[in-house]
């Protein structure tokens, strides 16, 4: 089976500093893949490279069998790979509805219309249905800058999902979200994404979240992939616990969380 997303010997250097090296990954349709690593391990660099935000120093990125090296983010998005951000990237002075309407219009066509109205009944219906999927419909008329962090994160992800991508990359979806809200947020996101059948890669620091929501795990260390496999196996790995997580994990407790 051809992988949906594949990287071959991907590397990125900034002068003498190697941010990423020897990254070989294959992501198949519908997979839910967690990505862990300490700060500076290369997780965000990896996401930035595959989404076209950053050009790799060397290596190849194949999406649907085609090399997308050198493609701009908008071109990568049009091919079917979207992302959310560690800091939600929204239009803060516009309302939630306006954010979604703009995202819809842009996802529909890269050539924007000059004279047809942005706000149509059909677009508003779709927007409301999407916001309902992400459980933020109650904020539809609120200005984004006034919203809590968790709602902004959900809106950021909802906007990334509007074009119904084949692969969704989530950069720390729960960062800045209150501990008690993390699981709710991830459950909402995963339920909404599951409907679309998109493969998901999500960068996460919280091992409870990783254990519960990912079926496969990539552990980054020093710009390289230290381990790649089923989540529980990678979390049990001594090297991963020592070098990536930084402490011993109580697997029984983690499995309890995962099954909760």
């Amino acid at each position: 089976m051809t992988a949906l997303l594949e990287t071959r010997d991907l590397a990125k250097s900034f002068g003498a500093v190697t941010a990423a090296a020897d990254i070989n990954v294959k992501i198949n349709a519908g997979e839910i893949v967690g990505v862990i690593g300490s700060n500076g391990a290369g997780k965000t660099t990896f996401i930035n490279m595959v989404t076209g935000y950053m050009k790799p120093t060397s290596g190849d990125i194949l999406f649907d069998g085609k090399n997308i090296i050198g493609r701009k983010p908008r071109e990568v998005m049009r091919k079917g790979m979207c992302r959310s951000f560690q800091v939600a990237q929204l239009f803060p002075e516009l309302t939630v509805l306006e954010n979604i309407l703009i995202a819809q219009a842009m996802a529909e066509s890269k050539t924007l219309s000059f004279f047809s109205a942005l706000h149509t009944n059909k677009r508003e219906q779709n927007a409301r249905a999407l916001l309902d999927d992400y459980e933020i419909l109650e904020y539809v008329d609120e200005v984004v800058s006034t919203l809590p962090q968790g709602v902004r994160k959900l809106l950021d992800i909802a906007m990334a999902m509007i074009s119904q991508p084949k692969v969704l990359l989530l950069d720390e979806p729960t960062s800045g979200v209150a501990i008690e809200d993390k699981f709710d947020l991830m459950t909402t996101v995963m339920a909404a994404v599951k409907k679309s059948g998109a493969a998901v890669l999500f960068v996460e620091h919280d091992m409870d979240v990783i254990a519960r929501y990912s079926t496969r795990l990539l552990a980054f260390y020093d710009g390289r992939i230290l381990a790649d496999g089923p989540t529980k196996e990678v979390l049990r790995d001594e090297n991963v616990q020592t070098l990536v997580i930084g402490h011993h994990l109580d697997m029984d407790e983690l499995e309890g969380t995962a099954n909760a």
Binding site: T51, K72, P73, R74, M77, R78, C82, R83, F85, Q89, L90, F91, P92, E93, L94, E98, L101, I102, A103, A105, M106, A107, K110, L112, S113, F114, F115, S116, A117, L118, H119, M159, A160, I162, S163
Partner: protein, 313 residues
């Protein structure tokens, strides 16, 4: 079939055209020049809604005026439709080239680069003896296939043309501001990264907006040239561009009517200030702008929203 708003606008436009027949010439002259500038400011507002402030719209204002002047002089025509078309074409062609560079820049760099290009045109015109150097040259009064009625001591045709263009462009831009392309400006102002990740080229959108603003500015320059009957390089000087920014800040960017009304208010205010204090009239304008920025930071148009809110509560 016209809806209610379109009908009101049409009636208003016809009323203003008819009022021109009884209006004193000095006032129709002032309104015509103001609407010419209003069109330039309308273009500036398109850019400002995308987070870009151009200090160089004088480039297109002047190019439109000189296109009218040069074309009427060398081709020997006074046909208003032809002259307007030539002015718009001049704005379109120049901005298509300059925009390729400017659409890559933002913030102060965009502002300064736009000013630099207008100053280049100023420098070229000042040194062009064929175009009258720093004195400029006179432009013949326009006609519509020989039709050029005089009312109260002056030609009314430019006034009518200005009113019609203000309404036509106003309606087009009003519709445009509600379209995906129009709203893309606000999206870009708020977050360029997200726009790129939604699959749209920010640079391309800004390029198109820049050209639209330029065509409006060159049309404004054409109206001014045909009304005043004289053009000179000062039209490209940075203070002229600054005046457009002044009007935009004073009027606000909330509605297409704001820059057009703002330009009329500005011209009236300047006339009044000049009459009251011929040597320090700039001070009156400065104090007015200061007061507007302090009390109405979103411009005079925001007063309407405040009044409507007050009326509701």
């Amino acid at each position: 079939m016209l809806n209610k708003n379109s009908l009101i606008l049409l009636v208003l436009a016809v009323a203003l055209i008819l009022i021109g027949l009884v209006m004193p010439y000095w006032f129709s002259f002032l309104v015509t020049v103001a609407l010419g500038k209003g069109l330039v400011v309308l273009g500036l507002v398109i850019l400002m809604r995308a987070g870009l402030v151009s200090f160089g719209q004088g480039l297109y204002y002047c190019a439109g005026a000189y296109a009218v002047g040069a074309f009427s002089h060398f081709v020997e025509t006074d046909n208003v439709i032809l002259l307007l078309a030539v002015a718009m074409l001049a704005g379109l062609v120049i901005s298509s080239v300059v925009g390729l560079l400017l659409s890559r820049y933002r913030d102060i760099f965009f502002a300064m680069f736009s000013m630099a290009f207008s100053m280049i045109l100023y420098g070229v015109l000042v040194k062009s003896a064929e175009l009258g150097s720093s004195d400029g040259f006179n432009v013949t009064s326009p006609s519509l296939f020989g039709f050029a009625p005089e009312v109260n001591g002056g030609s009314i045709l430019s006034y009518w043309v200005a009113i019609i263009l203000a309404f036509v462009f106003g309606a087009i831009i009003w519709r445009y501001f509600k379209s995906p392309m129009g709203v893309a400006g606000e999206a870009i102002r708020e977050n360029e990264i997200r726009v790129e990740y939604l699959g749209v080229s920010v640079q391309k959108v800004i390029y198109i907006k820049y050209i639209m603003a330029a065509v409006l500015a060159s049309t404004g320059g054409a109206i001014t040239a045909m009304t005043v009957g004289h053009i000179d390089p000062e039209m490209a000087y940075w203070t002229t561009s600054g005046e457009f920014v002044f009007i935009a800040l004073m009027a606000g960017t909330g509605h297409v009517a704001a820059p057009l009304l703002g330009a009329v208010i500005f011209e009236l205010l300047r006339s009044f200030a000049f009459q009251v204090s011929p040597y320090t009239w700039q001070m009156i304008l400065g104090i007015t702008l200061l007061a507007i920025i302090i009390f109405l930071p979103k411009g005079l148009w925001s007063l309407k929203d405040k009044l409507m809110k007050g009326a509701k509560s």
